[in-house]
């Protein structure tokens, strides 16, 4: 059974008096434990699609189910609950909370969203920091880390609550190629270790090659689905 299924997905924005169609009837499905990339030029609809899969935005028409839930039916509060329980996020700019340490940033979803007990929480955070190779940096603040280290922490934060799905919007855009490659390898390793589905967007051809399934978007339409030789 598909983890994510989209049928005739349309998203229309209104910018002043002009209606802009960001997605024009998109169909796709994503299987559990897959490593998927949405690629395409800027403005092709990648981020819009990821926002809708992440319950941050609603489709204008069509149907989008994530983990058998029609995300269009979720209001702000239920959307937040759904994200907290099932979806992890990795951002282009890392978006770590500057007043918290590395440990506390990774701990945040368990502490403020899911309310895990202290001991269980601590063990899970240490496990994730170990997995991303950041356990020796646990006491540092984000401003004391390099870009690659920050994104490793962000990956750990996205995975700490054991979500079924991690969405990463341009996760390597602010990293040099070597670091970007290492972050992608890390995400893959995490997928292998935890069985989590990773869906990321990119317009970097070198990075998109790391994906096992690639959906190409152009002008709001899905051009093709390609199985990579990494699959």
């Amino acid at each position: 059974m598909s983890l994510v299924r989209a049928e005739q997905l349309v998203k229309t924005y209104r910018m002043g008096d002009v209606e802009v169609q960001a997605l024009k009837g998109v169909d796709f499905s994503i299987e559990p434990s897959s490593f998927v990339a949405f690629v395409g030029p800027s403005g092709s609809g990648k981020s819009t699609l990821l926002n809708m899969i992440g319950c941050l935005d609603h489709p204008s028409s069509g149907k989008l189910t994530v983990l058998d839930t029609d995300v269009a039916t979720l209001d702000q509060r239920n959307g937040a609950t759904f994200r907290g329980e099932h979806i992890g996020f990795v951002f282009q700019d890392f978006n770590l909370i500057p007043v918290l340490t590395v440990f506390e940033n990774v701990e945040y979803p368990l502490r403020m969203v899911q309310k895990w007990p202290l001991e269980k929480r601590r063990a899970q955070v240490l496990r994730l920091l170990e997995a991303v190779g950041m356990s020796d940096q646990a006491g540092k603040r984000p401003d004391q880390l390099s870009g690659g280290q920050k994104q490793r922490v962000a990956v750990a934060r996205a995975l700490v609550s054991q979500p079924k799905l991690v969405l990463a919007d341009e996760p390597t855009a602010n990293l040099d190629h070597d670091t970007a490659y290492r972050v992608l390898q890390l995400m893959k390793k995490m997928r292998d270790e935890f069985g989590t589905t990773f869906v990321f967007s990119t317009h970097d051809p070198k990075i998109m090659g790391e994906a096992e399934t690639i959906f190409t978007l152009e002008d709001g339409r899905l051009q093709n689905e390609k199985e990579s030789n990494h699959a």
Binding site: T81, F82, I87, P98, P109, M112
Partner: protein, 415 residues
């Protein structure tokens, strides 16, 4: 909740200078209000105490209409023995009453055989008067303080009169008075003591024994002009006043008229208006404090939300419920309020202690060297603290609400 407070405290420490500035404003406001309440309150209670404990008593009972004509000291509006008995029965039955003192009041002429002037006289039972207005004996500037305040055949006069008439303790003087029938009677007295003046009604009165007053006025019955009442607990004045007004004020005589009226000290003294002004000023100072806290906390919280829009987008995206985001920002306002209030209370109490150690003196009317001894009730401190904390939380509400309702996508795109 502890998790929310821990993160809120980190966020407050993120902008130390701004947080300290806001705290400073709250602390200054708290200190200003608490010091004002302590100093003005002690000044007010000292002044009220001067009037109630040396002249007026807490409550007074009169025959109906007496207070309206009190400047004339009308002898035809005295309480008759039957009304006195009725009033005393009510006073005895009320557990709030500590004691009371009957008085015969009249206007007369005071002569030292060389000069003559007018005088207001209180005929009193010295023991009961001292129990009802305990500061009165302490106002004796000259004379034997060990003796009862005034003995039969003697008179105590106010210092202004003594100076003006060049009269000393032990001098013989004459008091002449007109009784209710219009006939005049005079009697010689020995000056037993000279009283310090006190600002306000009754502050320039002379005192003689109640039996001497009745003899001078040739009263056939044991009439009295007023009963001064002292309560066990001054703070229950309102309750006692209400009870007496119901028991005595609403009773009617055979003609269906109300024979007795009851007044609190505040209804008899113009100083009550000054006391009310102090209360009004306290209210305005409190409103200023509320404004300071409201504006400063709201400003800092609006800035906090504006500067952390992307961060709000991030925590919303990773699943933080809107209610939790709201509580994160409310907690920052709460902590500002609590820390500012705590520091304000500590500094205020230290300042009040310092003033008490310093013991500055001041003059009020005729009275010199009154010692400023500010005190503040725990209830006042707690109510101000609760008000400041509540206003700090209230000021955070709008920015916190805005943060909790923010669209995560727009917030994440914010530059």
């Amino acid at each position: 909740m502890l998790d929310v407070l821990a993160i809120a405290s980190r966020n407050l420490l993120r902008y130390r200078r701004r947080t300290l500035l806001t705290l400073l404003l709250i602390v200054i406001g708290m200190v200003a209000v608490l010091l004002f309440i302590a100093v003005a309150g002690s000044f007010k209670s000292m002044m009220v105490g001067q009037f109630t404990d040396s002249v007026l008593g807490h409550l007074q009972v009169h025959r109906k209409g007496y207070v309206a004509s009190i400047d004339n000291l009308p002898l035809n509006l005295n309480l008759t023995p039957a009304l006195v008995a009725k009033a005393e029965e009510a006073l005895k039955a009320n557990p709030l009453v500590e004691t009371w003192s009957p008085r015969v009041k009249f206007g007369g002429m005071f002569s030292n055989f060389a000069e003559t002037t007018s005088i207001r006289i209180n005929g009193i039972d010295p023991a009961r008067e001292a129990a009802t207005v305990p500061l009165l004996p302490g106002r004796l500037l000259e004379g034997d303080k060990a003796k009862p305040l005034v003995e039969r055949g003697q008179i105590v006069i106010p210092v202004l009169l003594a100076r003006g008439m060049n009269t000393k303790v032990g001098d013989t003087v004459v008091v002449v008075a007109t009784n209710r029938d219009g006939s005049v009677n005079g009697k010689t007295f020995v000056v037993q003591g000279i009283l310090e003046g006190v600002t306000g009604p009754g502050g320039r009165d002379g005192y003689m024994h109640i039996d001497d007053a009745r003899a001078l006025l040739r009263m056939s019955d044991a009439e009295i002009s007023e009963i001064a009442v002292r309560l066990k607990d001054f703070s229950r004045l309102g309750q006692a006043d209400k009870q007496f007004k119901q028991m005595l004020g609403e009773s009617t005589n055979k003609e269906g008229k109300q024979p007795i009226e009851v007044h609190t000290w505040a209804e008899l003294s113009p100083f009550a208006n000054l006391a009310r002004m102090i209360d009004l000023m306290t209210l305005f100072i409190k409103i200023m404090l509320v404004s300071i806290v409201l504006v400063s906390v709201m400003n800092v919280m609006m800035m906090a939300v504006f500067e952390r829009i992307r961060e709000i987008g991030t925590i919303a995206a990773i699943g933080t419920p809107p209610g939790r985001i709201l509580s994160l920002f409310l907690a920052e306002g709460l902590m500002l309020g609590v820390v500012g209030t705590a520091a304000g209370i500590i500094l205020s109490l230290a300042a009040i202690f310092g003033i008490n150690v310093w013991s500055p003196t001041f003059a009020f009317g005729q009275q010199q060297n009154l010692v400023m001894a500010p005190t503040i009730a725990a209830g006042d401190v707690l109510s101000i603290a609760a008000m400041v904390v509540a206003v700090a939380v209230l000021a955070s509400l709008q920015p916190a609400w805005k943060a909790s309702r923010m669209d995560p996508i727009s917030a994440l795109r914010h530059v």
